[in-house]
């Protein structure tokens, strides 16, 4: 049942009435206490033997430093604070160069790479980042410096997350291309080894590299050997394109769809690019369908809520579940992403699904309202619908394709059968990272 329509800015819209694009008018934003999604600190730490240095105001530093502290990685992070005076006295660039130099010279180890993050105010003030990187590279020729950005004010142009996934591969330099090697680009967790994506690559004798499995900086540098770079997350697509263009290799974007035809098309595209025979995907699909049947049996008609942090294509996932008889009632998402086709289809298939904003101010007390028992897919959905029955994943959990559908269906079945310690799980920052709390 739709509520809150009497509000000046209601946080909910019926899917059948929702516009394409932004579902809600912009305004002040609330931040729910679900912390599983990775940020630019977590992502940067994926580069082995790299050190992160942030230059920004104290308020901005605080979040990144404590991200590192909570993941027990303070020894891989340093910072330079920017004062009011520092913004206006012409020392913007020299302060950063001097600060970074002092940090590097005082570190107990020599990092192979330094990720230097500047902030909104630097760019707004016209800071010359190129000069900074140039000077530092001359001073420390054994270290690879990468210009990185903590620029949330520019999120409408390109999100800090997507930008980070571009800069993540900046250290890669051209190497002789190995035609039998492939990278998966821009993911923050390993792709399921059993997925048809990984199996096709490995079963055909290709070497698969992925930053999440790199243990040394040299292994990371070896990623430059790949003939094909594959991305499947929306925030990784630009990074994949940029890297491939820079190294003169192939880029392949295979979005993580839940639509059988799209999955088949993606796999066909992969096989064509690799020059291998496309396997019969029927067994994979049958397994996915069986898992959905089993999950449906466990869930019965319990309402399902899906949020955009759990799966990158929430409408595609909702459509799959609706087609398999699940009672999908709620989706938490503020803006339509790459699953517009599924969104359009749902307007006919399930127009009464309610889309809720994740950030609208009127969602503040939503968890305390009366809710029926809901099974949530994602932390934000679990929080807002006040349920301990939830699937605790972000960014598809590393699952992909038909195998991914089967795995997420299994997780839904698990969630239906056993409550979780919601408070502990959603308070943990960056699912998959260490946490000291």
């Amino acid at each position: 049942m739709l509520r809150k329509t009497e509000l000046d800015r209601p946080p909910v819209v019926r899917l059948g009435d929702a516009p394409r694009g932004d579902f809600f008018a912009g305004g002040l934003e609330y931040n729910p206490p679900a912390r599983g999604v990775w940020n630019i600190v977590h992502t940067g730490m994926l580069i082995p033997e790299a050190h992160e240095i942030f230059a920004c105001a104290q308020g901005c530093l605080r979040g990144v430093i404590l991200t590192a502290a909570e993941m027990n990685a303070l020894d891989r992070m340093s910072w330079i604070s920017v004062s009011e005076q520092g913004m206006f006295d012409g020392t913007l660039e020299s302060d950063v160069v001097d600060g970074v130099s002092e940090i590097i010279e005082g570190l107990p180890y020599r990092p192979r790479a330094v990720l230097l993050y500047l902030s909104c105010i630097h760019l707004f003030a016209g800071c010359d980042f190129d000069i900074i990187i140039e000077e530092l590279s001359e001073k420390f020729p054994d270290i690879d410096f990468s210009d990185c950005y903590m620029t949330p004010t520019m999120r409408k142009t390109i999100s800090p997350d997507a930008k980070m996934r571009i800069r993540l591969y900046n250290g890669l330099k051209p190497l002789p291309v190995d035609e039998r090697s492939v990278n998966i680009i821009g993911n923050d967790r390993a792709t399921d080894e059993n997925s048809e994506l990984v199996r096709i690559i490995k079963d055909n004798g290709f070497t698969l590299r992925d930053i999440t499995s790199c243990k040394t900086y040299d292994e990371y540098l070896d990623m430059a050997k790949a003939a094909v770079n594959i991305a499947y997350l929306p925030t990784a697509a630009m990074g994949c394109d940029e890297l491939s263009e820079r190294l003169g290799t192939k880029a392949l974007y295979l979005p993580n769809s839940f639509d059988a035809a799209e999955i088949r098309a993606n796999i066909a595209k992969l096989c064509e690019t690799l020059g291998v025979e496309c396997p019969d995907l029927t067994p994979f699909e049958e397994k996915a369908n069986a898992a959905l049947v089993s999950a449906k049996s466990a869930v019965d008609d319990t309402p399902i809520a899906i949020d955009f942090t759990a799966v990158t294509q929430p409408f595609s996932f909702a459509k799959l579940l609706v087609e398999n008889g699940f009672n999908v009632k709620y989706i938490i998402n503020d803006v339509l992403g790459e699953d517009g086709t599924a969104f359009d289809a749902l307007k006919t298939l399930a127009p009464d699904i309610e889309i809720y904003s994740a950030v609208n101010v009127n969602m503040l007390h939503f968890p305390e309202e009366d809710h029926e028992k809901v099974i949530a897919v994602g932390q934000k959905a679990a929080h807002y619908f006040n349920t301990d029955y939830f699937v605790n994943i972000v960014q598809n959990g590393g699952y992909y394709g038909f195998t991914g559908i089967a795995e997420i269906a299994r997780l839904i079945e698990e969630a239906a059968n056993a409550p979780k310690d919601r408070r502990t799980l959603i308070s943990h920052k960056g699912i998959g990272c260490e946490s000291c709390i």
């Binding site: 206490p33 909104c120 707004f124």
Partner: protein
């Protein structure tokens, strides 16, 4: 360089100070920022976020709005949210970007108040200063808006307000409730806690108090305001373990009608070379150092990195010290043997010096929150000294 840190964190910033100080009063606090401030505050600087709701939002500032100076969007968004949320007041503070664009907080606040009829104040934070600064200006604003002169509480003992307690310094340890209980046993009644553990209705009666107790430097601007406007004297100090010294100082303040400090020393101890050091917020650290000194009869120094501009140094020997390299050098050069400080200071404690861990939420956030203790509980200092003695054996 003073603004460089190789490993230890920085303290919570002024924006977090504003939000933390005003959290429980039923207002709407808006941070003019893109997105980072709200996430940082609600994740790392606010332990109440999960269990206690508060209308704290960001403006979701974009590059385009910043460049084009689109203040009207912010105003409309706040007016719209206020219509839906019906807050008791609106506080508007900001991050580095509005500082860059010269955003006029007071003017925008007046505009919003005019459109909504809700008391609104602008607090010109910019994310480059400590939480002490933000919380201080927020509590002063709330007092100047809602506290009006009134007859003194009809109470035989001393009626007081506790000013400046926030989870950033005290965690969620029940410290305010403990203080109320502690004081009630020695003829002191708490009218309001202007900070955590208080309500706006209680604060409206704050001028009926005969004295104010400032328990963190965050509370000093509000206390000074009330001294000037209502003639209420204040005392700075935290009853560490027992009410004794603080209670007598409060009675004295009322009797003499004179503000003052507990006999704490901030910066270098005047009685001689100290081999012991407390690092943290000025009032709480000073109070711990004082009690520690009384118990052990040995000098104790205090360093207060989050508030180097604090005026709480009766000995005028403040050390403007917040840089990692300076703190490290201070401990090493002076041969400090024992340091009471947040556990994350472990990275810069030299060999041969002991760290007695005292988690400080404004420094290490959630990392050691579960280990924080109520400083007013009876065995707080005993435990601390016992730990030290045990380690010394």
């Amino acid at each position: 360089m003073k603004n460089v840190s190789k490993i230890i964190p920085c303290y919570a910033a002024d924006t977090s100070g504003v939000c933390s100080a005003l959290y429980e009063f039923g207002g709407m606090i808006v941070v003019h920022d893109a997105s980072g401030c709200n996430s940082t505050y609600s994740t790392h600087d606010e332990p109440r976020w999960y269990d206690m709701r508060s209308d704290i939002y960001i403006s979701a500032l974009t590059e385009t709005d910043a460049i084009l100076g689109n203040d009207e969007k912010l105003i409309e968004d706040i007016v719209s949210a206020a219509k839906d949320r019906q807050p008791a007041f609106i506080a508007l503070c900001g991050s580095p970007m509005p500082m860059m664009t010269g955003f006029d907080y007071e003017a925008v606040a007046r505009d919003i108040q005019g459109r909504t009829g809700i008391p609104t104040f602008g607090l010109a934070t910019n994310g480059t200063r400590s939480y002490i600064s933000g919380a201080g200006m927020a509590l002063e604003a709330i007092v100047s808006e809602f506290v009006h002169d009134m007859p003194k509480e009809d109470f035989d003992g001393t009626a007081i307000n506790i000013i400046g307690a926030t989870p950033l310094d005290f965690g969620l340890t029940g410290a305010v409730e403990s203080m109320k209980k502690l004081f009630s046993e020695c003829g002191i009644k708490v009218i309001s806690s202007i900070g955590m553990g208080g309500t706006l209705d209680e604060i409206k009666n704050a001028a009926s108090a005969k004295a104010n107790l400032v328990v963190s430097y965050c509370g000093l601007p509000a206390a000074k305001y009330m001294e000037k406007e209502f003639g209420i004297p204040y005392i700075c100090g935290v009853p560490v373990g027992e009410a004794g010294v603080v209670a007598s100082e409060l009675h004295r303040a009322v009797h003499d009608d004179r503000s003052g400090y507990m006999p704490i020393k901030r910066g270098q101890d005047i009685d001689g070379r100290a081999e012991r050091l407390v690092i943290g917020e000025a009032v709480l650290s000073g109070s711990i150092a004082y009690e520690w000194k009384i118990q052990t009869r040995q000098a104790v120094d205090v360093l207060c990195p989050p508030d180097i501009d604090a005026e709480l140094s009766p000995d005028k020997k403040d050390m403007p010290m917040y840089a990692e390299e300076d703190i490290k050098a201070y401990i090493k050069d002076r041969g400090i043997k024992e340091v009471v400080a947040d556990p994350l200071y472990k990275y810069i404690i030299p060999e041969g010096c002991r760290l007695i861990e005292l988690p400080h939420f404004a420094f290490s956030g959630r990392c050691f929150a579960k280990d924080m203790k109520d400083p007013t509980c009876n065995d707080y200092l005993d435990d601390l000294v016992l730990v030290i003695n045990k380690k010394n054996k």
